[in-house]
């Protein structure tokens, strides 16, 4: 049963989100500027004349003091205006660029999350119920392997094995969900799997631990003493209580999910915000990097907020 979350709590959360967004944006802004490289060179090429470079700088106001530049960026970003991209087609509105790519990233992220959650619910349950037996040992070993596999490495293994070797899935390219949902599910499977594998491993481990802790609690014994069916006892008395730590860990892993999309989008050629941000970083396209980073940051904070709401709803002792 969901409980109402107090207004005070929500507004203090929103204040926190705003503060984090500000700090995050400032960090990205100043770190980018501190690095080597000049967007003028990236756009105009190595052979650009000093006059052309000066003109470029003047156009984008790159020679103003950094604090002024940041303030200028911040005041329009607050109004929802992220300006124009320096690199993409000589001045494309950033809002449009992100708007067209965000659905792809969210799709891959959600797809990976669904895979990780389904796999871990299954594997975690099996290994807790068959605690200490062969199935548990096997599932736990695979989980350890999964955790220790970096997703870029797994991506290549999957590309070679499932795409190039067996020819079951495409190794490159992506059909956006807006175009065809089944196409997106099919072409997005390998990238989602590459992101999901290490997460599924982490989720499986926490679920197994939480289930084993709950399995021997008194209220489970009481439920059994009343003669309830095993499945009923497991779902309502064991799993239901193990979900609280499980969902909490899922919330903590969300940031890796988005980090994963950055890598995987590049490898599989998915036109998402992650790939956009990497290209923008190489091109020193400051406003575009800023906007992409902020998008990621807000997504993480939003998901964490939702996870917190779910946790509060799961645990009557909160609130």
């Amino acid at each position: 049963m969901a409980r109402a979350i107090s207004i005070g709590r929500v507004s203090s959360r929103l204040g926190g989100v705003a503060l984090l967004a500000l700090l995050g944006s400032a960090t990205v802004f100043f770190v980018m500027r501190a690095g080597q490289g000049d967007p003028a060179i990236a756009v105009l090429g190595d052979q650009a004349t000093p006059e052309a470079i000066a003109a470029f700088h003047k156009k984008w106001m790159l020679d103003d003091p950094l604090v002024i530049q940041f303030w200028r960026w911040l005041s329009s970003a607050v109004m929802g205006d992220f300006g124009l991209s320096m690199t993409v087609a000589g001045g494309t509105p950033i809002m449009g660029l992100i708007g067209s790519r965000l659905p792809n990233t969210l799709f891959i992220g959600a797809y990976a999350l669904v895979i990780a959650v389904s796999v871990s619910l299954f594997a975690g349950t099996i290994s807790a119920l068959r605690h200490g037996k062969f199935t548990d040992t096997a599932a736990t070993s695979i989980a350890v392997l999964g955790i220790s596999m970096p997703d870029f490495w797994l991506s290549y293994v999957l590309v070679y094995g499932l795409a190039l070797g067996l020819g079951v899935f495409p190794s490159y390219g992506f059909t956006p969900p807006a175009q065809s949902l089944t196409g997106a599910l099919y072409s997005g499977f390998l990238p989602a799997l590459a992101i999901a594998a290490p997460m599924a491993a982490a989720f499986t481990r926490i679920l197994r631990t939480a289930l084993l802790e709950t399995l021997y609690r008194d209220h489970v014994r009481v439920a059994r003493s009343l003669g309830y069916r095993d499945a009923f006892v497991f779902i309502h008395f064991v799993l239901r209580n193990a979900l609280i730590p499980y969902v909490t860990v899922i919330g903590l892993q969300i940031r890796y999910l988005l980090g994963g999309t950055v890598v995987v989008e590049r490898i599989f050629g998915i036109p998402g915000v992650g790939a956009l941000m990497v290209d923008a970083a190489f091109g020193r396209d400051y406003p575009l990097v800023q906007a992409c980073a902020l998008t990621f940051l807000l997504s993480v904070l939003l998901v964490n907020f939702v996870v917190d709401l779910i946790c509060a709803a799961l645990n009557p002792r909160q609130n």
Binding site: L226, G227, Y228, R229
Partner: protein, 323 residues
């Protein structure tokens, strides 16, 4: 003519736990019967195996426990012959248990109403909202004056006494023939303890149920029990009518236990103390109590005594009583 069998007949129950490479024998050959509408008290110091006995009967122990018995008959039906699924169907509706820790007995994620609803549904296929009326009247039966509020409360919002009442309501909803009550009032304060005991007695009579009542409080045992079994180191060392066991104990351990409790009750300066450690190593042969027994004889260290009649329906496991 066959007399009808007793409600529960336990013969030579043995329960051990695998701990590392060893097997810890927690219950070492326990036998007793419980008649219809009878309350059998199970008393003995901490670690003597009372809880393990109760849990063994309901098969509620974890996997590393091994339960063996020559026979466990419930109304003549051999329980050891039941597989897990058919035994599950007996739980709750025939044999139920009330536990020591009422707070831990409830699912922290669910309301009391949810708990009662499923207990009621377990007994009968009550449909729709009908369970709610029954739940409210059950809560009133166990002395809860604001049933609507309690039904919508979560366990952490209620006191231990309130939760124990609610748990009793769940158990009586199932109308079991045998209730195993494992120190149901140990965690409650005195006044509440009295009320809960009274409740258990009232409902035991109303349901015509039998009770295996585990306690280490002899005053409670005297109040509530018809017969009493005294456990020591996994064995029953004395069993008989409550009056006989408490007024005239025949086993030295039972006598010591009684004296301890009397000196406690009278808050005497001098407190009778049982020599030795409880739950220490049990000798391989002889009487388990020999090492601490004030009346120990040389042969006690080698001969393991069997149960001997010491009065009408009254037996003790001690060599002092020749057979």
């Amino acid at each position: 003519m066959n007399a009808s069998p007793p409600l529960l007949e336990v013969m030579n129950l043995r329960t051990s736990f695998a701990v590392g490479q060893r097997r810890v024998k927690a219950v070492r050959g326990v036998s007793f019967t419980i008649g219809d509408e009878e309350v059998l008290g199970l008393i003995g110091e901490s670690g003597s195996g009372k809880t393990v006995t109760g849990m063994s009967l309901l098969r509620l122990l974890p996997d590393h426990a091994a339960i063996e018995a020559d026979a466990i008959r419930f109304r003549g039906d051999e329980l050891t012959a039941h597989d897990e699924e058919s035994f599950r169907k007996l739980r709750g509706v025939q044999l139920a248990m009330i536990f020591q820790d009422p707070v831990g007995s409830f699912n922290p994620a669910k309301t009391i109403g949810w708990h009662l609803e499923h207990a009621i549904l377990r007994r009968s296929e009550t449909d729709g909202k009908a369970w709610r009326a029954e739940a409210e009247s059950l809560l009133q039966d166990v002395g809860i004056r604001a049933p609507e509020r309690v039904l919508s409360s979560y366990p952490h919002q209620l006191s231990g006494g309130m939760l124990q009442r609610a748990l009793i309501a769940m158990v009586i909803a199932l109308r079991p023939a045998l209730i195993i009550a494992d120190e149901p009032t140990t965690n409650l304060d005195n006044l509440v303890e009295r009320q809960i005991l009274e409740l258990i007695r009232v409902h035991q009579r109303r349901l015509k149920a039998s009770v295996l009542f585990v306690t280490h409080d002899l005053a409670i045992a005297e109040d509530i029990c018809d017969r009493i079994a005294v456990m020591y180191a996994g064995e029953i060392v004395e069993i008989g009518p409550a009056d006989a066991v408490l007024r005239n104990p025949q086993h030295p351990y039972a006598a010591c236990l009684l004296q301890t409790s009397i000196s406690l009750a009278q808050r005497q300066e001098y407190l009778f103390e049982l020599a030795g450690e409880p739950g220490g190593k049990i000798p391989d042969e002889g009487c388990a109590f020999a090492g601490r027994c004030p009346k120990v004889m040389p042969q006690c260290r080698t001969i393991h005594p069997d149960m001997r009649a010491v009065g009408p329906d009254h037996q003790a496991r001690c060599l002092l009583h020749g057979d």
